[in-house]
């Protein structure tokens, strides 16, 4: 297919321009390219892509960015206003001026992928691609072929990172559309703890394609909280997969907050490989216009006494389309596991659409599993009740929409992230919705 050929041509151009690389990297790139060539872009006949038309990507003529050009003023407005260890990339290219790792505590290493590859760490070579193989999807294969930049985060056993680590991926509105294939690797040693934020955001008018692959290895007792805040312009295309491997007693919590993009596809996979491992998947997707937001999650309960808990809320307006596919697989002998999954969707317009499919495959008998999916509209009686108290209609609808998202948003511990989501979902509200201060005051009043 010529669509595939275009990408392969870009790849050979790139290979020619690039200096020599360690053989293991070159071999993986080749494997990625070969797999991508064999698979091609998925069409609707591929079950996992049944509702998701990727022709906008396949037919695009995307160049690889050479430099990180971004106006500092617009970057400042887009950057999450939090104290963090931050690496920024513009269309996949590292942007030193927008990055600040600050001081990292002992046992914590945050590097750019390019640095890690140049240093040729054994720790990186062994881990990279172990979870996200080239067979996972054509996009993972493509990422493997192209990946040059991204981040490698390594936590020594017991290391605790206080501040969040932010990977900011900026999409610029250049003259020609660009593509990027960032790759992220996190190896978290036993009992280490960190919060990682992957933030996709861009300038008005940007029409790029980003294809992110992240791999997370959690050793025994490691705790990682992962935020993905995707607020790209509605002209961007974004594909991402996040692969997590969890050893005994590790805990992984994912917040997948999807607001932007013409098309945004997220795959999240967690393998619960050791007893006591726990995965929490929280998600919110909010689509407007003609956005297509597709989320596929998979939890593999590969060991007994493992726990997963998933709650996704979808909100769709205008002619937006949402897809949620949540799969849980409980292996034979994975006894005494608990798996709960819920997906609730709110359609704000008659023309918005959702396809939701919870899938449970259970091959063990002593398990506690539940799943449910619901779709509804705003309660017009409640809209009236709020308006009848003087609250304007837009705010009333915003409030009720946020209330719908409440179960998920209440879990978001980083205010700056919650605020971005609340603003996007509900427009301007009289004050912060969760009203931490007010509620505390009410509690105090209660106790007096």
């Amino acid at each position: 297919m010529s669509e595939v050929q275009g990408f392969l041509d870009r790849l050979s151009e790139r290979a020619a321009a690039r200096g020599a690389e360690p053989t293991w990297i070159a071999a993986r790139r080749q494997a990625g390219a070969a797999r991508f060539e064999a698979l091609g872009f998925p069409d609707r006949k591929v079950e996992a892509w049944k509702y998701t038309d990727v022709r906008g990507i396949a037919r695009g003529d995307f160049a690889l960015a050479e430099s990180a050009d971004f106006s500092p003023a617009s970057a400042a407005a887009l950057t999450l206003p939090i104290a963090a260890h931050r690496l920024s990339f513009v269309d996949g290219v590292f942007a030193p001026a927008l990055s600040d790792l600050g001081e990292l505590s002992a046992g914590v290493s945050v590097e750019r992928l390019s640095q890690a590859l140049a240093a040729n760490h054994e720790a990186v070579g062994g881990a990279l691609g172990r979870l996200a193989g080239v067979d996972f999807s054509p996009f993972t294969a493509l990422n493997t072929a192209f990946a040059e930049e991204g981040a490698v985060i390594r936590l020594a056993p017991g290391a605790v990172v206080e501040r969040p680590i932010v990977l900011q991926f900026l999409s610029s509105a250049g003259a020609t559309p660009r593509m990027s294939h960032p790759r992220v690797l996190v190896t978290a040693g036993a009992r280490s703890q960190a919060t990682l934020i992957e933030h996709q955001v861009g300038e008005e008018g940007a029409a790029n394609f980003s294809n992110l692959v992240s791999e997370v290895l959690l050793e025994r007792g490691a705790i990682l909280t992962h935020y993905k805040l995707q607020e790209l312009p509605q002209t961007d295309h974004h594909i991402a997969s996040l692969h997590v491997d969890q050893a005994r007693d590790s805990r992984f919590t994912s917040f997948n907050l999807n607001l932007g993009g013409a098309l945004a596809r997220n795959d999240i996979v967690s393998d619960l490989n050791g007893q006591g491992a726990e995965a929490n998947f929280f998600g919110l997707f909010f689509g407007q216009g003609r956005q297509l937001l597709d989320t596929h999650t998979l939890v593999n309960h590969n060991a007994p006494l493992t726990f997963s808990n998933e709650n996704y809320k979808g909100i769709l307006d205008d002619r937006a389309r949402g897809i949620f596919n949540g799969k849980v697989i409980v292996k034979r002998d994975s006894q005494k596991i608990e798996a709960h999954q819920n997906n609730a969707n709110l359609l704000l317009s008659d023309r918005a659409e959702i396809d939701t499919k919870p899938e449970l495959e259970i091959y063990a008998d002593d398990v506690k599993c539940s799943h449910g999916a619901t779709t509804g509209q705003l309660d017009e009686e409640a809209v009236f009740a709020l308006r009848a108290r003087g609250i304007d209609e837009a705010t009333a609808r915003g409030l009720l929409t946020l209330a719908f998202a409440g179960e998920v948003m209440e879990q978001v511990a980083i205010d700056a992230v919650a605020e971005r989501v609340e603003l996007a979902v509900a427009g301007k509200l009289p004050e912060r919705f969760n009203l931490a201060g007010l509620v505390e005051a009410a509690v105090a009043l209660h106790e007096e």
Partner: protein, 250 residues
């Protein structure tokens, strides 16, 4: 203050209010009584602006302004507040948030800024104590899981915070136990003022024992067929509606 003239309303093609006239002056308390299905809730819903009601004839003015031209929220901000017969549950929206957002919306319309947090808390504390409600209600989602009586108290709590010029109370007494009735009635009485008015729908004299109305109306089949003073309610309690119907048919 409120003037309803020759009001005709249809709901889903059904003619429900059929030439209703009503005038409520500042400082007064009016009670509307009448058999089930007569159109009492329809009247309050139309005044508050609920969708689905078609006004085919007549007018409603509030302080000289055309109510039917106003958005729902505008009516509320101008001081026209409806206490619901069946308060709706609003999961996920905290009671305290509703109170603050509603109060600030009103203040904004009046050209005042947002209420400072300490002032707001002080106000809430006073009102919630007045309604003999536990402060934990503030943190709960609006009406969610509230008992019938708690919902009604909550309606009055909102009234006390928002201080309407005209409170429309639709069966605020239904579902209340004896003590709650007293609390709610005290709440309503505290809203009485020379520049305010109250219009309440009720089926029972027992509410009127606590809140003495200036005028009592009987609404039957979409019209007010008889008006009188507080004695009329007592007579209705004793004799029912038949004699009024006969009188008006005659």
């Amino acid at each position: 203050m409120l003037e309803v003239k020759d009001l005709h309303v249809t709901v889903e093609g059904k003619h429900i209010l059929k030439g209703l006239n009503l005038t409520v002056a500042a400082g007064q308390v009016h009670a509307i009584m009448g058999p089930n299905g007569a159109g009492k809730s329809t009247l309050s819903a139309v005044i508050a602006g609920k969708e689905g009601y078609e006004v085919t004839q007549g007018s409603i003015t509030f302080d000289g302004q055309d109510v039917l031209e106003m958005e729902i929220e505008e009516r509320a901000r101008k001081g026209l507040l409806l206490g619901f017969q069946y308060p709706v549950e609003i999961p996920g929206v905290k009671n305290i948030y509703l109170l603050k957002a509603a109060l600030n919306a009103k203040r904004e319309a009046e050209g005042l800024g947002e209420i400072p947090a300490p002032e707001f808390m002080k106000l809430i504390k006073e009102k919630i104590a007045f309604m003999k409600m536990d402060a934990s209600f503030l943190q709960r989602a609006v009406n969610e899981g509230f008992s019938g009586g708690e919902k009604k108290r909550n309606e009055i709590l909102q009234m006390l915070v928002l201080q309407p010029k005209l409170a429309l109370l639709d069966e605020i007494d239904s579902g209340l136990d004896i003590d709650a009735m007293k609390v709610v009635a005290d709440g309503v009485n505290s809203l009485r003022a020379a520049d305010r008015a109250i219009l309440m729908v009720t089926h029972y004299q027992r509410l009127l024992d606590h809140i003495t109305p200036d005028v009592v109306h009987v609404l039957v089949d979409g019209r007010i067929v008889k008006s009188g003073d507080a004695e009329l309610a007592k007579e209705l309690e004793a004799r029912g509606y038949d004699w009024v119907l006969e009188e008006s048919a005659a």
